[in-house]
Amino acid sequence: MSTDVVTPRPPRRSGRLIAPVGIGVAVMYMSIIVLIPMAALMGGAFDEGWAGFWDAITSDQAIAAVLLTVKLSLVVMLINAVMGTIIAWVLVRDRFVGRGFVNSLIDLPFALPTIVAGLTLLALYGPDGPVGINVAFTEAGIVLALLLVTMPFVVRSVQPVLLELDRDMEQAAASLGAGPLTIFRRIIFPNLMPAIIGGSGLAFSRALGEFGSLVLISGNIPFQDQMASFYIYSLIESGDRTAAAAVSVLLLTLSLAALLLLSALERWTSRHAR
């Protein structure tokens, strides 16, 4: 994140060797874990050249699946931005019994195997669910599953900012006659915006590629409610790895574009707020 810049101390003699070693280790590690696999994926996507890549990402089925995925991921991102901020606010500003417990629950979606998340949602909100709400195999069901697995992102990025937020500013504003709404709109919200945007971007990216939690809750019908990750899986199943890699690269590109766009927005809002 670009927000937590710590002013570097002037290098000491003993630190001179460490900096290049640190960079070396970081680059090597990133290469092994992320960069080389991504490069291999890119290579795979262009196995049949530009024409093959283009055909793969413009097939009827690919377009339908990717459009649906982007649409639902955007919905998930927006809900996350609002609800995640509210949850973070409650956790930081409100005092209530069990706050620490609730706080530790936030990360649970990351610990839960995604297929279990899907199974639980199906049992609760499926055809025979005890609550009498059946959203399984609808877009609402998909959104629900995506919300579950992406919940921690916004909460966890907004929380520390709220904790550090200087309450003197709010008190000063109040003493100058600003109402709570004005204080939120003029003081708090601008300070939280970069964190909300950053968290939402992560939630969007995660939603784009989600697979496990949707296995039991989405209908997986091509052209109707088949998500991109399932379409990619079907391409792998039918042995068309080039097309599978191509659609994956398209998803990655969309996710990267979203992250870049949001970080530009983040910079713009944080400059604009001051």
Binding site: V25, G126, G219, N220, P222, F223, S234, I236, E237
Partner: protein
């Protein structure tokens, strides 16, 4: 950013951790006298019963059988990608043929007395207890009041049996190729959910979705044995599911691997398959269980719908009939 003092400790820790991981990975890849069975998930219970019996017998003495289970297509692909396997047991022949094409399984793998198959089954229509909708055969799946569940044949190789069964049943009834495709389009209009694989389909059916689940007889029998409330109907016309097994050509222990496959094909092992709901491949054992496994009058095989190669490319390729049907176009539009 880390300050330099802590950074040095971090780097040291990272390097130590990395070398430990690499060392462990190297230590784990040692060979021994075992064989590895790579199989699709459904017959797991059968193998868990037959493997101890193999290890107790003379042929399998001292042989450890390591097991890996997963969806058939995934299992086939990981073997193709280099997983050491000695025996592969998969849901359908194309998943073995993928390995034959790569030279990982001998081309004459199907030369044995059972033509390479270790178990059979048939496609059935699983229904709610007592069959409240009175489902009898394939035509009932077109009724307005019936909701059908079948796994997506594009994400599940196993589900291709279901499409072959539905399509072939129409031909078996004397309908034309075009009429059979129309049937498929009409039937899939009643399909509200197409789970990723047969396991997921069963789970979703169990959760209360749908009236009819197109399933395999062995799965329905296993579900009943596990106390689940499910009935099933064997349509008069349906396909014989044949599950292949093969020893890999790169097996590190071919004698043990072949002994294991022979063990699976003995009458007593085939009896275990039968007890768990699979139709035995040995006629003598099948005859003993004739009551549990009635032969439908219109039983056909994949060869009757053109064989796997043609059937798969006609129906499941990117310009195949199924994509047309899913897109709401006339089957054959993309060809």
């Amino acid at each position: 950013m880390f300050r330099s003092g802590r950074c040095r400790a971090c780097v040291a820790a990272a390097i130590v951790a990395l070398s430990v991981v690499i060392g462990l990975a190297a230590a784990c890849s040692g060979d021994d006298d075992g064989i590895t069975l790579v199989a699709y998930t459904t017959p797991r219970e059968v193998y868990e019963e037959l493997i101890p019996a193999f290890a107790d017998g003379p042929a399998g003495e001292g042989v450890r059988v390591y097991q890996s289970y997963g969806p058939s297509g995934d299992q086939s692909r990981i073997v193709e990608s280099g997983l050491d396997a000695d025996v592969v047991a998969l849901a359908l022949e194309p998943d073995i043929m993928r390995l034959v094409d790569e030279g990982l399984v001998d081309a004459d793998w199907a030369g044995g007395p059972t033509a390479g198959f270790v178990s059979n089954s048939v496609v059935v229509l699983a229904v709610r207890p007592g069959n409240p909708e009175g489902v009898r055969d394939w035509d009932d799946l077109l009724r307005d009041d019936i909701e059908v569940i079948t796994p997506n044949p594009l994400t599940s190789g196993g589900a291709q049996w279901n499409v072959a069964a539905a399509y072939g049943a129409q031909l078996e009834r004397g309908r034309t190729h075009e009429q059979a495709l129309e049937y498929l389009a009409a039937m899939f209009a009643n399909v509200d959910v197409q789970p990723k694989g047969s396991r997921e389909a069963l789970q979703i059916f169990r959760a209360g979705k749908g009236d009819v689940l197109i399933a395999y007889e062995n799965e329905a029998i296993t579900a009943r044995q596990n106390g689940e409330e499910v009935d099933y109907v064997i349509p008069d016309e349906t396909i014989l599911i044949q599950n292949p097994i093969a020893v890999t050509s790169g097996s590190g222990n071919p004698a043990a691997a072949e002994a294991f496959v022979r063990h699976l094909l003995t009458p007593s092992s085939q009896g275990v398959f039968a007890d768990k709901g699979y139709r035995p491949v040995l006629p003598s054992v099948l005859a003993e269980h004739a009551e549990a496994f009635p032969e439908p009058p219109g039983l056909f095989t994949i060869e009757d719908v053109g064989g796997w190669d043609d059937f798969r490319s006609d129906f499941f390729s990117s310009d195949g009939y199924m994509v047309d049907i899913f897109a709401g176009d006339a089957p054959g539009d993309r060809r």
